[in-house]
Amino acid sequence: MTTAAATRPLASPTTAGSVLSRMRGLGPALFGMAVFLGLWEAYIRLTNTPAFVVPAPSRIAVRLWEELPSYAYEFSYTLAAAAIGLVIGTTVGIVGAVLMANWRTLEKSLFPLAVILKLVPFVAIAPLLRIWLGYELQPKIVLASLITFFPVLVNCITGLRSADPLALEFFQSVGASRWEILTRLRWMTTLPYLYAALKVNVNLALAGAIVGELFSSKNGIGKVINDTALTLDIPAMFAAIVFLAITGVAITLFMNWSERRVLYWHESMRTVGTR
């Protein structure tokens, strides 16, 4: 009955062991970070560099702690603009990819337009968006969606076309409709490609929203940075940048974690997981 069939253990994606080993993997990174910060601190103190040129890490940390509530509040605007822009950009990208993957003529006529849109440096259109859309969330949302739709579009077109040919033939052989093939086969094959685009896009969307805020805003972490530049409050500026670095790390960790949850069945998850 059971032929020479080796079965791999049915391990859950995250076990206590893997968490521990991942923590241990962080050791060298934390050490490197500590050395870097230590040298920075020592240099500032030994040379008596004034804080308005380069502040010491300790000074930045204190300032960040003081400003944390207000930064968190301002960042909620940035995050909202980035998130809404990301949702719009992703939706447009997916719908565009489904249409273009199905109709070659549509791809031939619209894809070049998308490429041109992508090739325009998005910073260049920020002032125009301020004139058109003003100082609220809208210009940041538009900026974030303009940046994020293209990676989704390109990756999803590739994903939709990369379904296993034999699986396609099986669907066809049992009379599956085009819609069923799209939703039950092609869409699932696209998910890893979509995720790859999303991982890039969360950071791009934030960058887009912040650039929008630098140019024109009443709120947002970009506006905070702009204000600190005007008052030459360099420690506060550094604190805001560190705040963004920390949220960036948090968002990246969240994306990696959710990717493991959603795409646990994909081969890419297993080659990474064996470390």
Binding site: A5, A6, T7, L10, S173, V174, E180, L185
Partner: protein, 270 residues
């Protein structure tokens, strides 16, 4: 319409409305390529009886896989006619009268074994789907009872291919088309799968058309072996295999088996 039948008892499971009759009438296929046209199949004519196990054997590129795909409605023939239970291949697809097993399992990696097997019921609004037996029973039949909740990547190649066989059997198709289903397996697993398939076929009596390169595989499995010539693919000879059933490993050392193998080797070389 569905009639669940105990599967593992070794019983024959007739689907009451199946005639299981396949008629291939002077089918030709010419592929158009940039460098000109290639004649893949020339005038293939063949009848398959209900519950018969027929094997197509021939050298690489003789069009046997193409013929299988034409019968299954995946490729349009250039000429000729095909009927599966009195329907065209495309109608037969819609009524789920055709079960395909390919060289690779082609399972959906995001679905568990049981959800892979149940996929055909979700498609085409479940039309024309008699159920051969429950998912549990089909898993028992292919020897994977304890793997219902496993994902394909947790199974070996041979086990995955058995899931693919279960997926093709579960909706009780009139005709099972198998395109070198053991071609991607190692030799040891492959030799075992032959008898595994015979056991399954003994339980779920189906009309089977099986494509292979392997002479022993063809002899052990078949009621009839159809030998095809290299391009353009033509049916060169049809050989009846009268070895008694049920067959097991011992059959491969009988004089009759050796004689048939010699004959096939000779035909394939010529």
């Amino acid at each position: 319409m569905s009639q669940p039948v105990a599967a593992v008892s070794g019983s024959v499971m007739p689907s009451h409305n199946a005639r299981g009759h396949v008629a291939v009438d002077r089918v030709t296929k010419t592929f158009m390529t940039k460098t000109g046209s290639v004649e893949a199949i020339r005038e293939a004519t063949l009848d398959i009886r209900e519950q018969e196990f027929v094997t197509l054997i021939g050298p690489s590129g003789c069009g046997k896989s193409t013929l299988l795909r034409i019968i299954g409605g995946l490729i349009e023939p250039t000429g000729g006619r095909i009927e599966v239970r009195g329907q065209s291949p495309l109608e037969a697809q819609r009524t789920k009268d055709i079960g395909f097993v390919f060289q690779q399992p082609a399972l959906l990696p995001w679905r568990t074994v049981e959800h892979n097997i149940e996929l055909p019921f979700e498609l085409n609004r479940g039309s024309g789907t008699d159920r051969l037996c429950s998912t549990e029973e089909i898993l028992k039949l292919v020897g994977l009872a304890q793997f219902a909740k496993a994902h394909p990547y947790q199974l070996s190649g041979g086990m995955q291919q058995r899931v693919a066989i279960a997926r093709a059997l579960i909706f009780d198709p009139a005709l099972l088309l198998m395109d070198e289903p053991f071609g991607a397996l190692d030799e040891i697993t492959r030799a075992g799968m032959r008898y595994e398939l015979l056991r399954i076929w003994g339980d779920a009596r189906k009309t089977v058309l099986f494509v292979t390169h392997s002479i022993p595989e063809a002899i052990v499995l078949s009621d009839r072996v159809i030998v095809m010539s290299p391009r353009p693919g033509e049916i060169r000879e049809i050989i009846d295999i009268t070895l008694p059933r049920p067959r097991n490993e011992d059959v491969e050392s009988t004089p009759e088996f050796v004689r048939l193998a010699d004959r096939l080797r000779h035909l394939l070389r010529a």
